[in-house]
């Protein structure tokens, strides 16, 4: 028998959901509002919520001082490049773990995840030296490599759990029909796992876009993405809150737009497999 949901319960659940959503969204809203304030209004106590002199001066200043489009373009190349590279490696890896597991598959999965447990700064100097000797410092190629490696464990794990949902018999049928391994992965497995792959792709792009340790430490002037663009407006001595907010809005706007338009896919993918 279907459970009846009373109107009162609906109202309460809706109110709770809205409260949580507003609480999560509030910092972004506050950053958005601050980006239109003067520096004096940005630090006013009590804080000014809506009634202040709205100005776009911070955006003009930030545009004038920094090469936004260079940083933006670097962010796009680094995040998309590292995600595609990670998927190319992770899809066959996840296939093998999901459909032809060996005795040590679980251990390998755990070991892969364990690499995420080490603080990144622990390997900063060795990686910096490797990059120096191979000429990869301050290059987009270098960042694509390091972010691919950084996100690979998560991508393999996510794809592995999605692939586990797909009945092995379907792949077996494809094999009986004469499909070789490549065809099996490209024409049978991948289309069935599209929601999972899409959500992995989107999540990985977001992670790579927001990554602020390697992108700050391995770059200088040529390949620095938007994380450096934001870091250049933070200061412990001097008031830059409004400009910092404007820079932050410009940095997160593209990823918010991407998230907004792909939210259906993202939610569908996330509820399809791993994070049920």
């Amino acid at each position: 028998m279907a459970r009846t949901v009373t109107t009162q319960r609906k109202v309460i659940v809706t109110a709770i959901a809205w409260t949580i959503a507003i609480a999560i969204f509030f910092p972004i809203l506050w950053t958005f509002l601050t980006s239109f304030k003067t520096e004096a209004d940005a630090i006013a106590t009590p804080p000014k919520f809506l009634f202040f002199n709205w100005t776009t001066e911070n955006y003009t200043t930030v545009q004038g001082r920094s090469n936004y489009f260079l940083h933006f373009w670097n962010s796009v190349i680094i995040s998309v490049g590292s995600t595609v590279a990670a998927l190319i490696i992770a899809i066959p890896a996840a296939w093998s773990m999901a459909f032809v597991p060996g005795k040590r598959t679980k251990d390998i999965l755990m070991w892969m995840l364990s690499t995420k447990m080490m603080p990144a700064v622990g390997v900063l100097v060795p990686i910096y030296l490797l990059f120096r000797d191979t000429g990869l410092l301050d290059t987009r190629t270098g960042l694509v490599i390091v972010l691919t490696l950084m996100n690979l464990p998560i991508v393999v794990w996510m794809l592995y759990t999605y692939f586990k949902e797909i009945p092995g018999e379907i792949l077996e049928a494809a094999r009986m029909d004469g499909a070789n391994l490549t065809r099996e992965i490209i024409y049978v497995l991948t289309p069935m796992a599209v929601p999972g792959i899409a959500s992995t792709l989107l999540l990985n792009i977001i992670l790579a876009w927001n990554e602020a340790f390697w992108t700050l430490n391995l770059t200088a002037s040529k390949s620095a993405p938007l994380t450096q663009f934001i870091a250049s407006y933070s200061s412990p001595e001097g008031l830059f809150y409004a400009k910092l907010s404007a820079a932050s809005m410009m940095a997160i706007a593209p990823i918010i737009v991407l998230g907004w338009f792909s939210q259906k896919q993202l939610v569908r993918g996330l509820t399809f497999g791993a994070v049920k």
Binding site: T45, Y128, R132, A231, S232, F240
Partner: protein
């Protein structure tokens, strides 16, 4: 088109291409502050004087910058040609041969014009390893109207007893006015910059001559007791997360009676466009202990240095010479107004009557910088140099750890005795691990 004209144009194009081909690009790593941003806006002058040098900027928040350039210079990465570093790093890095000595900077450069305490912090074995771009010390800023209302007059050399009395009388929590605002946020350059300076004024020291930590001394006990008493009773709520910017905002909006911090704050709190209390700000030296004469003034400078790993040292030197010259000061005065020139580096600036008139806090700033004694910061004998820091590589980590302990005491999770015991234990442990005494 005649063949002559064609030939001439061709030659011009070749010359232009040649010039472009020979243009050297240097990368300058710098912090985000008003003076540095102003310099980036005045680059047309440098480009005109040095058309063969192009400058690329990497601007970062100072803690990010510190980590970034330290990694690069320690690994000989060569990503930067000019670094913006503090006077904490300069002697340590110079001793490692990581920096190029700044010699032959040109006939008009006049390094003897640099303020002596500032230059002393950047000189190792008689050689200058970084050029000061901007320097600051610490001083007391206070609300003249609130002090008058409290029936008090600021002495020429206030001591901590007077500060406590004034803080008590100025505090009006109902009106959200707090007698004193001080740094509480944990960090070697945050609360420990202030507390180390205050400890110096109280006669305390970080280490004795054998590098034994001294947090178990009565001087440190007096320092922390006074600090916690001031901040707990007369400070703003949530002070354990307040740094320079938070206190600046509080002072500018009229919430603080007194504020002891960097001299650079004076230009912000006295600017009527930013500060609601600009007309009521007075300046005084950092407090001393009753009967003492050590203000414990800190000394911080942002300096331009050239890493030994740079492949473009001549171009880098030309840039450093331009940015820290007397001509640059004149350039800023011409375009941005004389009150906006980078303060605290050259004697000639403080002999300029126009500057002294435009910046009412200039005399106090100069006095604070000149009173800073980084060579023997405490009244007692110490094996180290530095004012608000101890000039050893281990200090960043130890200073921040001690800062967290003191910040926790300010937040009320421990008392002064517990905090001092914890600071003593952790400093002893870390110094022993680092192999002191060396």
């Amino acid at each position: 088109m005649s063949s002559k004209l064609r030939g001439l144009l061709g030659a011009c194009s070749l010359v232009a291409l040649g010039a472009a081909a020979h243009a050297e690009t240097i990368t300058v790593a710098t912090v985000n502050n008003g003076d540095m941003i102003r310099m980036q806006g005045l680059m047309a002058d440098f480009n005109e004087k040095h058309p063969d040098i192009q400058v690329e900027w990497v601007t970062l928040e100072e803690n990010v910058l510190r980590q970034r350039v330290t990694t690069d210079i320690a690994t000989n990465g060569g990503q930067y040609d000019v670094l913006t570093i503090g006077n904490y790093e300069v002697p340590i890095w110079a001793a490692q041969n990581w920096l190029l000595p700044l010699e032959d900077m040109g006939a008009d450069y006049k390094p003897e014009d640099f303020l002596a305490p500032v230059a002393a912090g950047l000189t190792v074995d008689g050689k200058l390893y970084a050029a000061p771009f901007y320097a600051e010390s610490s001083m007391l800023m206070y609300r003249t109207d609130l002090l008058e209302k409290a029936g008090l007059t600021m002495p020429e050399n206030p001591d901590w007893d007077f500060i406590t009395e004034a803080a008590e009388k100025m505090t009006d929590k109902g009106a959200e006015i707090y007698g004193i605002c001080l740094r509480g946020k944990a960090g070697w350059g945050e609360n420990m910059a202030f507390l180390t300076s205050m400890a110096n004024s109280e006669g305390a020291r970080w280490f004795d001559a054998d590098w034994k930590p001294q947090f178990d001394s009565p001087e440190w006990k007096t320092t922390l007791d006074t600090y916690l008493n001031l901040m707990t009773n007369y400070g703003p709520p949530g002070a354990s997360s307040n740094g320079f910017n938070e206190n600046l905002a509080l002072f500018q909006t009229g919430k603080c009676g007194m504020w002891i911090d960097a001299t650079v704050a004076a230009s912000f709190v006295s600017n009527p466009n930013e500060s609601t209390v600009a007309e009521h700000v007075g300046y005084a030296p950092s407090p001393v202990r009753a009967g003492g004469d050590n203000h414990g003034n800190w000394l911080w400078s942002w300096n331009l240095a050239i890493p030994a790993s740079s492949q473009k040292q001549d171009a880098a030197k030309a840039f450093v010479a331009w940015a820290t010259s007397q001509e640059y000061t004149a350039l800023v005065a011409e375009h941005e107004g004389i009150a906006n020139v980078p303060p605290g580096t050259r004697t000639s600036l403080y002999e300029n009557q126009e500057y002294l008139t435009a910046a009412p806090f200039a005399a106090q700033t100069l006095a604070a910088i000149e009173a800073a004694d980084t060579q023997s910061p405490s009244d007692q004998e110490v094996p180290y140099t530095g004012g608000q820091f101890v000039s050893i590589p281990e200090f960043q980590a130890i200073g921040t750890a001690v800062g967290q302990v003191f910040s926790a005491a300010l937040a009320g999770t421990s008392d002064a005795d517990q905090a001092l015991a914890a600071a003593q234990a952790l400093t002893t442990r870390e110094m022993s691990r680092a192999g002191y005494p060396k």
